[in-house]
């Protein structure tokens, strides 16, 4: 196999952008993706098999056969889990990664989200830190993501976000009924409601049509290709340069190093299970926070006996995602209008500035709840089964609103990914073991957020409400997983520098949610995309070249 300039592992949110940026700058790139490439024709809206409700499996990977993980719960000990089971903490495994089937909320973090330690001080026992970059560094790349991938929405109702040079390229979708109910209520409470920014076409954009507002959005692929991910934007652009080869159903096994401690390529299993080596000048790991950590830990050699980038036992630590809390309100008139995607309105008044709390979070109405997703979300006092449960489904299915939000997680070094000593995947590689939890202050913030959601719903006319504010025993990383290869200045307390380059090996990069120091009170993907643009740009700028051309 020909040597190339760069191997990118993972064709998700970040990997797709990196591949495009490097390929358009003239580097030769191999993009390895363990999953398949689905198209809009494969979207099959199946309520029981998608990336949200996975009881019959994940529609967009990984499949249940041969891909276990281990979850270590302090109460029940280690449990081996299938990708379709909740504790597995899956995102997705396909071309596009999470972006093929995500809800597509496209948040910019706030300036404060990058300076959490300076603003609040680190709670005892936490690993709360500032980022080595700030909002101003990322602003141009947020904009690039908003324009290249495509975002609709309107932040103008909220005065709380950092400055921006350009408005979003597309106006928001027209408000649905929940928006119309919640907006005046928020205003009466003195809040600043606005249209959620979404990686979704509201008008024709980038050669594809607009959203046709179906019922099945979050967790599903879009049959009219109106949802913008790496699979229908940057990856096709990368391939069109002629400099990028995408290899699907190829599972990276380890990053290879030479005797001098430099990276020389990637060993991977191809679709037929054959072990291949792709040699390269540089390697970019973009496998999503849990698998990126696992790949580095599995990349052991004489010079790196504990895995690549792991000299100081930092790889896999500070695993975080989001603790989601909020409330459901039940109404005496229909709130449901069957107009997707459903999520439409948010407030960001509570992200910062509450005395006694290290941050807060955004609150928004939820995506359309499919019937199967409502069976455990009935009003207080509803029996779990039987005639009254059935009647309650009938009475309230179309008469409820859920307001939820991602609580700013306060990280802890004990929440981590390690390699399981016993369990292997179908290729014989040690699997990820997830253990520990975020700092308990996170749950205090989450409870306050849930009460705020409840207040909003009551103001909107809810006749009864239920609070959703649990206290999980293991970190909830899942679809918002981040933090496992923290970006920082101190090589003993972080894994990569501000350019996403591993501290002690200069030709390997980690570019994905892994590098997040903190995960904000917002869904993370636009920040992951912005970092991918920023890191790619510095990589290209510093690239001396080897003269290779395919």
């Amino acid at each position: 196999m020909k040597r190339v300039n760069a191997v990118v592992v993972g064709a998700g949110a970040a990997g797709g952008i990196v591949a495009k940026e490097l390929a358009t700058a003239g580097l030769s790139v191999v993009l390895l993706e363990r999953g398949k490439w689905y198209t809009a024709n494969d979207c099959r809206k199946d309520d029981l098999r998608n990336q949200r409700t996975t009881v019959l499996g994940n529609a967009f990977g990984p499949e249940d056969e041969g891909n276990p993980r281990v979850l270590f719960d302090p109460h029940s000990g280690p449990r081996t889990l299938l990708p379709s089971e909740g504790g597995y903490q899956n995102n997705a495994a396909c071309v596009g990664g999470g972006t093929l089937s995500y809800g597509a909320m496209a948040w910019r973090f706030m300036p404060q989200d990058f300076r959490m330690r300076s603003i609040y001080g680190a709670p005892a026992g936490s690993s709360l830190e500032d980022w080595p970059i700030g909002y101003d560094d990322l602003e141009p790349y947020y904009e690039k993501a908003e324009y290249e991938i495509g975002v609709s929405g309107d932040y103008s109702g909220s005065p709380f976000f950092g400055p921006r040079r350009r408005q979003l390229p597309m106006a928001p979708l027209p408000p649905n009924r929940e928006f119309q109910i919640l907006e005046p209520a928020a205003k009466r409470l003195g809040l600043h409601p606005f249209h959620i920014p979404m990686l979704r076409n509201s008008v024709p954009y980038n050669g594809r049509g607009p959203c046709m507002r179906c019922r099945w959005c979050v967790g599903f692929a879009c049959e009219v290709d109106a949802k913008n991910g790496s699979q229908n934007t940057v990856i096709p652009t990368a391939l069109a340069t002629g400099n990028c080869a995408l290899r699907t159903e190829c599972m990276a096994r380890e990053v290879l190093t030479d005797d001098r401690g430099r990276v020389r390529g990637v060993a991977y299993y191809d679709a037929n299970g054959h072990l291949e080596e792709q040699l390269s000048d540089i390697v970019i790991v973009s496998a999503c926070a849990i698998e990126s950590a696992r790949l580095l830990l599995n990349s052991k050699s004489r010079l790196f006996p504990n895995g690549l980038g792991n000299r100081y036992d930092q790889v896999g630590r500070n695993l975080q995602g989001h603790h989601y809390t909020g409330a459901m309100g039940f109404f005496d008139a229909d709130t449901y209008d069957d107009v997707g995607p459903g999520a439409s309105i948010a407030v960001a008044d509570y992200n910062h500035g509450t005395a006694g709390l290290c941050g807060g979070g955004m609150l928004a109405n939820e995506f359309i709840r499919l019937p199967i997703q409502m069976v455990d979300r009935m009003p207080a006092g509803t029996p779990r089964w039987g005639l009254r449960h059935k009647q309650s489904m009938r009475s309230f299915y179309k008469r409820n609103i859920a307001v939820m939000g991602p609580t700013q997680p306060i990280p802890s070094a004990d929440a981590r990914v390690t390699l399981d000593p016993a369990v292997r995947d179908k290729w014989g590689m040690p699997v990820a073991r997830i253990s520990g939890n975020v700092h308990p202050h996170t749950f205090e913030i989450g409870l306050v957020q849930a009460q705020r959601a409840e207040l909003w719903l009551k103001e909107a006319g809810a006749v009864s409400t239920i609070l959703n504010a649990g206290k999980p025993t293991v970190v909830s990383a899942g679809q918002h997983q981040a933090g496992t290869c923290r970006m920082g200045i101190d090589p003993q307390a972080s894994v990569v520098n501000r350019n996403c380059q591993i501290h002690d090996v200069d030709n390997v990069f980690v570019i994905d949610g892994s590098v997040h120091v903190t995960n904000g009170g917002f869904n993370p993907v636009l920040t992951i995309m912005a970092i991918a643009y920023l890191a790619s740009e510095s990589l290209v700028r510093n690239w001396k070249g080897t003269g290779f051309r395919s």
């Binding site: 199946d46 008008v203 024709p204 594809r208 046709m212 499919l370 069976v375 039987g386 059935k390 299915y397």
Partner: protein, 180 residues
């Protein structure tokens, strides 16, 4: 609920009887292990499971779990995606039968409605793992996508008042006008 205007539907017992008759009529198709129309369950297990599922989603103006195809859904999945739950089902159904015989001297399928409700609550208390599994799978079969054998004719979706077939193509822009 007044039942006068209700369309004629089979009661649970008529349904089960019809199922058994179907099996007898197709005697050649009834394998040794008593696998009538099922991929995994045997007929006795299916009768007991029907009785439990129809407590979880009983019949009223709208069909019960079994009338909507929930048994077909669960049985299919026990032969496919839910193979890992077979033991819990086998043991749980056997235990449910034993509890019923002990308390009421009859199989679950033969119990009157109040007795079956009592038995179901007892199962929920004594074998929570089994019951929660059946409960989840019943809801999946009742409220989930029809393609897996449950929610026949999208009956639960119609019950909830959802447009069926769903309304698509609500884009408010004319695509023929070209791209931005």
């Amino acid at each position: 609920m007044p039942s006068s205007k209700k369309p004629k539907r089979m009661t649970r017992r008529q349904f089960v009887a019809a199922g058994t008759m179907g099996c007898a009529a197709l005697a050649v198709g009834c394998k040794e292990g008593n696998h009538g129309n099922w991929d995994f369950l045997n007929d006795a297990q299916a009768r007991t499971l029907t009785a439990i599922c129809d407590q979880i989603v009983p019949e009223d103006d709208f069909p019960s779990a079994s009338q909507a195809g929930v048994l077909t859904y669960i049985d299919k999945q026990l032969a496919r995606h839910y193979r890992r739950h077979r033991d819990i089902y086998r043991d749980g159904l056997a235990q449910a039968g034993a509890m019923s015989r002990e308390r009421f001297g009859q199989e679950p399928a033969a119990l009157a409605a109040p007795q079956m409700a009592e038995l179901t609550s007892a199962i929920e208390k004594q074998n929570r793992k089994f019951f929660d599994l059946v409960r989840s799978h019943t809801f999946e079969g009742y409220y989930g996508a029809p393609r897996h054998g449950g929610n026949r004719n999208a009956v639960s979706w119609r019950m909830l008042g959802m447009a069926e077939p769903p309304v698509n193509g609500r884009a408010q822009y004319d695509l023929r006008k070209g791209s931005a």
